[in-house]
Symmetry: C2
Subunit: 95 residues, 2 copies
């Protein structure tokens, strides 16, 4: 499934509710999902971990919908098959 | 681009470094990227916002790589073309 298709699915499922909540509330909800991912990782339940990964991606896509931002385009633009800093693949940045 | 392709690109670019850092450090880095997204949204710079969306997705994919977890599969499994709670499209959940 393309990133764009998943973002469109989130629009079809949730845009009306997301739009009522607005970007600020949706960002807060994304933060909650991130915390749930952290908790699931600490508990080590693989099924819960998978669900929380899906939820973080879902809320990230929902937030992008509210901003009329194309998540797939943003991802390809920032990571055009090479590291955005050193321009190499694999990355050769020194930290 | 498929979600899976983007996750594979992150593996090709960063797996070696991600693996040295480990899941805990990568989760912390994902949290930092989330905070940068929040700051970019507050500042309202659309180019910075797009980059931070890309970075959150990139670090989420990196973390999934470390756990050997298929982000695309997790997303489709949780959101199989309907809301996971009410089973409707669009969602009809009452909050």
């Amino acid at each position: 499934m393309h990133i764009k298709e998943f973002q469109n699915l989130m629009r079809q499922l949730y845009f009306e509710r997301d739009n009522e909540r607005g970007p600020k509330g949706t960002l807060d909800w994304l933060e909650d999902e991130f915390e749930e991912l952290r908790e699931a990782l600490e508990e080590g339940d693989i099924n819960a971990i998978k669900e929380e990964f899906a939820d973080v991606l879902a809320w990230l896509a929902s937030l992008a919908n509210l901003l009329d931002l194309d998540l797939e385009k943003a991802a390809i633009s920032k990571y055009p098959n090479k590291c955005p800093k050193c321009k190499k693949k694999p990355c050769e940045c020194q930290f």
